[in-house]
């Protein structure tokens, strides 16, 4: 193995970890304030579609990214509003978003691109790379560090975390719990939207109806792994991202292919996620009020 191979492995892992890290960072912020969103998967998928749509309609990757961000933001606001102000059941809202996304994207690929299930964009329409590295991938690292600073080093972060740990205490000193929760949920949506845009118009240059492929849920596992700390989120998403690369790499080994059905290697990232999460027992501590709507007496 030489340096260029290591570099390549690093870039591949970085790519595979970027959607996980973005969504996980957003979700850490959201869950710290008490809002869990299991609809990350769906948000990622819809944003991946709208990014492709805007990108090909205006021939502008920038507008594509913005469309992905806007889509994620919108879904994050909706989820936050239903969860925080309307005291909805967060798990069910998220499930609804996932179901909606699966149908909507499959429908839209046919309705708008007139192909079934799979649409590719020209490579010239993908997000331009910097020295072979995606700028979105680099920003995902920066965003994780900023999120850490926000949550643990500022008064705003104190207020956010108080909403997830003891919303009543936050309310009693004037923190507007519902507003904070809606905003953090919006940030979670926004970052997940960026993850979606990265998947479609940066990494894969295509959109399929199964583009997110469970990544939204692996991001949830990453949140758990990271113990709600964005810096550990970087480590977690690299770990889970690496398994994705590993699966692809093993698939390319000739003699193994003869021995074992190649599709079986697609299970590697999911199996690895299960194993890692199962090994985490007792190591992580979620915010106490995550998933529980705050109701003033």
């Amino acid at each position: 193995m030489n340096w260029s191979m290591i570099w390549q492995l690093f870039v591949q892992t970085l790519d595979a970890s970027t959607p996980l890290l973005l969504a996980a960072t957003g979700e850490i912020i959201g869950e710290s304030a008490g809002i869990a969103n299991i609809g990350l998967e769906g948000i990622m998928l819809i944003s991946a579609f709208t990014a492709v749509y805007a990108d090909s309609a205006f021939a502008s990757p920038l507008l594509g990214v913005l469309a992905g961000l806007a889509t994620g933001l919108l879904l994050g606001v909706v989820h936050g509003y239903i969860s925080a102000y309307m005291k909805g059941n967060q798990i069910i809202t998220g499930t609804g978003v996932n179901l909606f996304a699966a149908g909507f994207v499959a429908y839209s690929i046919i309705a708008f691109f007139h192909v079934a299930g799979y649409y590719t964009i020209d490579l010239s329409l993908t997000v331009p790379k910097i020295y072979g590295v995606s700028p979105i991938a680099i920003s995902s690292l920066v965003i994780a560090v900023l999120a850490y600073y926000l949550l643990f080093k500022t008064q705003i972060g104190l207020a956010i975390r108080a909403c997830g740990e003891n919303p009543e205490a936050a309310d009693s000193v004037g923190v507007r719990v519902e507003l904070v929760q809606t905003l953090t949920s919006s940030i979670a949506g926004l970052l997940t939207g960026l993850a979606g845009a990265f998947l479609s118009i940066d990494w894969n240059a295509s959109i399929t109806k199964q583009m997110s492929a469970g990544r939204g849920f692996i991001a949830l596992a990453t949140v758990n792994f990271a113990n709600w700390n964005p810096l550990l989120g970087i480590a977690g998403s690299f770990l889970f991202g690496f398994f994705w690369v590993l699966g692809e790499w093993i698939k390319s080994i000739g003699w193994l292919k003869q021995l074992i059905p190649v599709d079986l290697f697609n299970t590697i990232p999911y199996l690895a996620t299960l194993v890692v999460v199962a090994g985490l027992i007792g190591r992580s501590r979620p915010p106490k009020y995550v998933g529980v709507p705050y109701k003033r007496e």
């Binding site: 692996i218 079986l264 697609n266």
Partner: protein, 350 residues
């Protein structure tokens, strides 16, 4: 008191209707944006499948597997778990049944063995998530989704490499005629599977409300701490719930393979199975996780699925629109007042 309970049921029913209407309205908007006529689409979606004999028979045939996958989710919620693994458990069940297409047996053995192996594989797939939850504290939302994907790729690789159909590359071997459930109405897809499905529904109802195990499941779902204080083994109850859920989902896979013409097999990319688990989730939520509600809701969703082909042919709307509307209905349902009853049960999954 009966009045009070009746009122509660009626309110619940009204809430569901409101959510369905809201979901369909927004769905209509999505169709308008896509350049389709929503009135036409909804007409094609519901009217033939609920007013014609053939339509109703097809509706029931589509209700068959989703009654079973709905039970998977419902038994989970009753125990305070968010088991969204019916999809993968159903894949494994289908695999368990279709394998017999490649095995020669005395013909009387096919159906019982298909049933048993499907149920067992479904239960195994369910109990993995159960063990991870009960003994390793793994959130069942994450684990069941991972298991769904693992099941997907296992079944898909089996389809391609182990039990491919020698004449038609787009599917697995078909189960032999002796391994197929009889059709109830010739020329439709309605087979005796619907009877199995309803029997399992009744069995589950009985189990939940008339037995000590069901009592423990419901008790843990409402209040795990008090259950523990009452000497109930909360971990074991989680396992029961996943096993029962895996059983019903496994049967759903069996019903699709042994009970749906013309293929009696698993098709490319699991296309004839895909989504049936999540349809069950919708059905269970709409039906308030109650067996009777599930029966009614399965007819509604079954009608949509039966009508989706009409909609695609006559209104030219892609049949994926059906799932889009389902998602919107669920989002509308998640708003409280609308979803009062189950919200109480599944406050937080962690």
């Amino acid at each position: 008191m009966l009045d009070g309970r009746l009122k509660e049921y009626l309110t619940g029913f009204a809430e569901v209707v409101v959510a369905i209407v809201a979901g369909m309205l927004i769905g209509g908007l999505v169709m308008v944006i896509g350049g389709y006529n929503p009135v036409d689409a909804y007409y094609q979606l519901f009217v033939p499948s609920l007013t014609t004999g053939y339509g109703l028979e097809m509706t029931l045939s589509f209700a068959t597997p989703i009654i079973l996958t709905a039970l998977t989710f419902a038994v989970g919620v009753r125990a305070g778990l968010f088991n969204i693994g019916a999809e993968g458990q159903m894949y494994m069940g289908a695999l368990g049944a279709v394998i017999f297409g490649a095995i020669t047996l005395p013909s009387i053995l096919y159906l019982p063995l298909e049933f048993i192996v499907a149920a067992v594989l479904g239960m195994i797939w369910g109990v993995i998530a159960g063990i991870l939850k009960a003994y390793r504290g793994v959130n069942e939302v994450v684990s069941t989704i991972m298991l769904n994907w693992i099941a997907y790729w296992i079944v898909e690789s089996m389809r391609v490499y182990v039990i491919p159909n020698p004449v038609d590359a787009s599917k697995t071997v078909s189960v032999p005629p002796a391994g197929r459930l009889p059709l109830l109405v010739e020329g439709t897809e309605l087979s005796a599977a619907i009877i199995i499905s309803i029997l399992v529904l009744i069995f589950t109802y009985f189990l939940l409300w008339k037995t000590a195990i069901g009592y423990e499941i419901r008790a843990v779902g409402y209040n795990p701490l008090a259950s523990r204080y009452a000497g109930i083994n909360v971990r074991r109850v989680a396992l029961y719930s996943f096993i029962i859920g895996g059983f019903t989902a496994g049967i759903a896979g069996f019903c699709e393979v042994a009970g749906r013409p013309p293929s009696y097999a698993i098709t490319t990319g699991l296309s004839n199975l895909m989504g049936l688990g999540f349809d069950g989730l919708t059905v269970s939520l709409i039906g308030y996780n109650h067996p009777i509600g599930i029966l009614l809701a399965s007819i509604f969703i079954g009608a949509m699925k039966a009508g989706s082909r009409n909609m695609q042919i006559y209104a030219r709307v892609p049949l994926e629109m059906v799932q889009t509307v389902q998602g919107l209905i669920i989002i509308a349902l998640s708003i409280p007042g609308l979803l009062r009853i189950i919200s109480r049960r599944i406050g937080g999954v962690r």
